[in-house]
């Protein structure tokens, strides 16, 4: 494909209006062309991002920041787990550099609590404010059937499921695949050995 056509595809992609076929074509070029003009992609992405700066600026509500903090607080557990995993990986890679360990460090199974992995102080953006706590308190009085413990439990369960799905599913799939492979190989080898024994036995008799 000539450079002109590639540049046309890049422009449409950067502004966000390339059709499905053009996007696929461009992505295949990105994957296969060693001389792909990545710089041009960046330039047109910058242009597309610059255009909104000419809009008449409007401000969101002042309490939105607090709402976002409340929303982010829901992900505290997930973030802590990520931090723990990151820390464990770092430790694991340090250990590998020093020696060749035979066992891998289990990143999440540890019962140890992370020591203040997330920077959260009294004025923390991701901490709900006093106002929020008051709202939660009032809500809990209104809704007696649903305790905060139950809410927390649900949130933790959801976060844990998401976390496991995101981080372990792929690894488990790969592990399963390699187990299947070795099982197949073992069966084949066993069959061959069995046949060889039978043949030897038959030839002797």
């Amino acid at each position: 494909m000539d450079n002109k056509k590639t540049l046309e595809l890049i422009k449409s992609y950067a502004i966000g209006c390339s059709g499905k076929d053009d996007t696929e074509l461009l992505k295949s070029l990105m994957d296969s062309d060693p001389d792909f003009p990545w710089k041009a992609v960046g330039e047109y992405q910058n242009i597309a991002a610059l255009l909104p700066s000419s809009l008449m600026i409007e401000l969101p509500s002042k309490d939105l920041k607090d709402n976002i903090a409340r929303e982010l607080f829901r992900y505290k557990e997930e973030i802590e787990a990520k931090q723990k995993l990151k820390k464990a990986r770092e430790e694991s890679s340090t250990l590998k550099e020093v020696s060749q360990p035979e066992t891998e460090i289990e990143p999440v199974a540890s019962e140890e609590q992370p020591e203040q992995l997330i920077n959260m102080d009294e004025t923390d953006f991701t901490q709900p404010t006093v106002q929020h706590e008051q709202e939660v308190f009032e809500k809990s009085i209104d809704d007696e059937n649903r305790t905060t413990t139950a809410i927390d439990k649900e949130a933790i369960e959801k976060v844990t499921k998401d976390y496991i799905r995101n981080y372990f599913e792929k690894e488990l799939r790969e592990l399963n695949r390699s187990v299947k492979k070795s099982m197949t190989l073992t069966i084949i080898l066993f069959t061959i050995s069995l046949l060889a024994i039978v043949l030897v036995f038959l030839s002797l008799t």
Partner: protein, 195 residues
């Protein structure tokens, strides 16, 4: 003034990768007006725009590891993320059946932008320093070129849909877009590089 005030966008992002909430707050203070304006332009209502802006910062907090630090371009990453998210909400509102379910994988592939390492550095301070250059360059385009750009950028229409909406041939849409982006490239990037 807090200690995060003096940090660059990229430094803030580095801190956010270690879940430093003060840096996230600083980034919110810097970018929320622009992102809110962009989202509201795409989606229309204030409430929905705020909801989407909130989603953007949740994505930023949860998936900051998908930002390519070597690009040193948080500006384009955030604006494109906000644009993609708002356009996705718009498309789901108008035609929910034809779009795939919104999953984590979908978000990673279609909402979170991927910037090449070769991209030029751009941050909010640089953009603000450009003054009216962007507005002037945009206003120098013809009405038709501006309209086509707006339909693509703010309404999320692809070239075929733009052609259908304007009842003009697809090649005409393509040529107007190409020309408009070429002019913007010349006016914005060349001028910026020349400074």
């Amino acid at each position: 003034m807090s200690e995060t005030t003096y940090l660059t966008d990229n430094e803030l992002m580095q801190n956010i990768s270690n879940y430093d909430s003060k840096s996230l707050e600083e980034l919110y203070d810097r970018y929320s007006p622009l992102l809110f304006t962009l989202i509201k332009k795409i989606i229309g209502g204030k409430e929905k725009a705020e909801e989407i802006l909130s989603d953007i910062f949740v994505i930023l907090w949860r998936k900051n590891d998908r930002f390519v630090y070597s690009s040193n371009n948080i500006y384009t990453w955030l604006v494109t993320l906000a644009r993609n998210k708002a356009v996705d909400v718009l498309k789901r509102r108008d035609n929910a059946d034809s779009i795939a379910d919104y999953t984590d994988e979908y978000e990673d592939e279609f909402i979170i932008p991927v910037l090449p390492r070769e991209i030029e550095k751009l941050d909010l301070e640089t953009v603000l320093g450009m003054g009216n250059t962007v507005m002037e360059s945009y206003n120098n385009l013809t009405d038709a070129q501006r309209y086509v750009i707006d339909l693509a950028l703010y309404e999320g229409l692809d070239e075929k849909k733009i052609a259908g909406k304007l009842n003009i041939p697809l090649p005409t849409v393509k040529s107007k877009l190409q020309l408009a982006l070429g002019i913007l490239h010349q006016n914005l990037l060349n001028r910026n590089n020349g400074q």
